[in-house]
């Protein structure tokens, strides 16, 4: 799938890897009116990164990743609107822990299965979470959503302002930490063994790798990240609705990741950026065409560009280099 990442790959930072941060920094100063969209994009990059860990590296296919994202979003929302915990860091950590616990519990079930059964279980667990959120109206607000979310200043210093400056920087800061951790992880032997499990789990068993334990670990880690991304979404929107749970958000997230490129780390950056910017411009004006467009795009990527946008760029770069030398 990708030769760039692996035990043999050079783990040193390349200059291209600073590009996302440069773009994010420039956007903060040059596009102040788009900061709330920017915070949304950063949140979804974090979410996509968590999905890339399990789909791209460990090869676990899930249709229910939004369960963790939604749980994290609701935990933060309920803490703030119902229980009176307004500190963003406490909310973030709690969301991460709760989502991680769900990941640990469901991972124990899901990872023992294969194929359709596994797919079905991820979908059933996500559907179950949606049903709980929908029906437990006194706690979650049901179909009306949960409003009245109040977020205290970060570290007691930086209040969330109406222009979304604090929210943007907060998301950027957390994404940077997550990126650094994930990058360390995938170049470490742990990450390489995940790739090995994806490519041939029988052989990994045969060479004595603790396959099940590794998968459970990465699944839980991914759930924690997704839960934190959900917490960020609640903190920046100050609202939680049912649209964070279920099959549709899971499907849309898959589309973002596939569009960017699976198993390449930065695919999780490019995909949400392109998807959400396009959605912001097109979806409100032409909702039908927008849905048709993402469907068509998915089909085209699967048939003709399996590496996504980054895969295409890699192909062009390789061709260019091949011609010049």
């Amino acid at each position: 799938m990708s030769e760039h990442v692996g035990y043999n790959a050079n783990p040193r930072l390349r200059w291209t890897e600073s590009l996302p941060w440069l773009v994010a920094g420039l956007a903060f100063f040059l596009l102040p009116e788009y900061l709330s969209l920017g915070a949304r994009i950063l949140t979804f990059i974090l979410f996509a990164l968590s999905l890339d860990l399990i789909i791209g590296y460990a090869g676990i296919i899930t249709l229910g990743h939004a369960a963790f994202f939604g749980l994290g979003a609701y935990v933060t929302g309920i803490m703030s609107a119902k229980l009176g915990f307004h500190d963003p860091i406490v909310q973030l950590l709690t969301s991460g822990v709760v989502a991680g616990l769900l990941g640990l519990a469901t991972g124990a079930i899901i990872l023992r299965m294969h194929g359709l059964t596994q797919l079905m279980l991820t979908l059933a667990i996500a559907a179950l979470c949606l049903e709980v959120a929908n029906k437990a109206t006194p706690i979650t607000g049901g179909a009306d959503g949960l409003s009245g979310v109040v977020i205290a200043p970060i570290f007691g210093l930086f209040a969330f302002d109406m222009f979304g400056k604090t929210a943007y920087l907060w998301c950027l800061f957390l994404l940077f930490i997550a990126w650094w951790l994930v990058r360390r992880l995938i170049y470490a032997p742990f990450g390489v063994s995940l790739t090995g499990i994806r490519e041939n789990s029988l052989r990994m068993h045969a060479i004595g790798a603790p396959v099940d334990a590794r998968l459970r670990k990465v699944y839980t880690l991914s759930a924690v990240m997704a839960g934190m991304a959900g917490a960020l979404l609640t903190q920046t929107n100050q609202f939680v609705g049912l649209n964070v749970l279920g099959f549709e958000p899971s499907g849309e997230l898959l589309v973002m990741l596939i569009l960017g490129g699976v198993g390449r780390l930065y695919g999780a950056f490019v995909g949400p950026l392109v998807f959400l910017v396009a959605q912001d411009f097109l979806a409100k004006k032409f909702p039908e065409y927008w849905y048709f467009g993402i469907g068509l795009m998915l089909v085209l990527v699967v048939l003709f560009a399996r590496g996504g946008i980054l895969g295409l760029i890699d192909g062009w770069v390789a061709r260019f280099k091949g011609k010049t030398t």
Partner: protein, 301 residues
């Protein structure tokens, strides 16, 4: 005396709600089976994870609604049209898209079919709008049908009988004809079936068309129970997949039992415990799959 009367009255009410739940549950289960059986066979036969199966059911529903209200076609012909048109459309899709991903990794099949769902949702919304489509039943299927002193909606009675006859035909086809023997051989061992001269590609194309046509027919038959609207393929997908995975891939009997179980449980839950929604269905599915990972009647892997 008064207490006794109240008890009798209460029991009578309970009994009639029990009969009603069982009746509606069976009707719903039959629909689920007619829609999902094609998915079970194609997934068992080619190992193709087709998440877009609900699209065919939705298409069937739209064909029926349009045929009845716009083209003034009689009801039986509209059902036939739903079967034939959806089957034909599925052959085109199969040749153009699905056949490129036979033997590809599961992720790519999942993505392709999710893409198809998104596209079909958009197309449905563009042509028919977001509102659910009303079904105009012919006069002879309206009203009640009384049996043993109870009244049953005539359409549901027709639905159960008609589905039962389709299922009987299908089972006869698979168990007693040469085509069915070939399908069973290919499900059991595709490579071996191919090596003794069975053209599995063509067999699959035909089976796929029949399965999709049945989904279209099921969607059309059930249009009155499961509302036909653009989000149909998203919302119903869980149910179709539950039927197939709980029933077991590649089996005919398994999904039938699973569909009836789900139909009755779902109806009972909606009747007695509406505040829990589909909660119990999901819990039961997860429990069942933990107990038997390859379904009730699936092959042990």
């Amino acid at each position: 005396m008064c207490g006794e009367l109240a008890f009798v009255f209460y029991m009578e009410a309970f009994l009639s709600s029990l009969v009603s739940v069982a009746f509606h549950g069976v009707a719903y289960g039959m629909i689920l089976y007619v829609i999902s059986v094609g998915l079970s066979v194609t997934m068992g036969l080619m190992g193709f994870t087709n998440l877009a199966h609900g699209v065919f059911a939705m298409a069937g529903g739209y064909v029926l609604v349009t045929a009845l209200s716009q083209w003034d076609v009689p009801f039986p012909l509209a059902l036939l049209l739903a079967f034939v048109l959806v089957a034909l459309a599925s052959v085109v899709l199969e040749r153009l898209l699905y056949s490129r991903l036979y033997g590809a990794v599961e992720l790519e099949q999942v993505l392709l079919t999710i893409g198809l769902i998104f596209m079909s949702v958009a197309v449905a919304r563009l042509i028919f709008g977001t509102l659910q489509q009303p079904v105009v039943l012919p006069e002879y299927l309206k009203g009640q049908f009384s049996l043993l002193g109870r009244d049953f909606p005539a359409y549901r009675v027709f639905l159960i009988l008609f589905s039962a006859s389709i299922i009987a035909t299908l089972w006869f086809g698979v168990e007693r004809t040469i085509w069915g023997a070939k399908v069973r051989a290919a499900v059991d061992n595709r490579a071996m079936a191919q090596s003794i001269g069975i053209n599995t590609r063509r067999l699959f194309a035909i089976t796929f068309a029949v399965g999709s046509g049945l989904a279209g027919l099921g969607g059309a038959l059930g249009a009155e129970i499961v509302a036909i609207q653009p989000t149909y393929p998203f919302e119903q997908l869980v149910y179709f997949l539950i039927v197939v995975s709980v029933g077991g891939l590649g089996s005919l009997r398994g999904p039938f039992v699973a569909a009836l179980l789900i139909g009755i449980t779902d109806t009972a839950c909606k009747y007695w415990l509406p505040q829990f929604g589909a909660f119990f269905i999901y819990i039961a599915t997860i429990g069942l799959l933990l107990w038997r990972p390859s379904g009730l009647f699936g092959k042990r892997t």
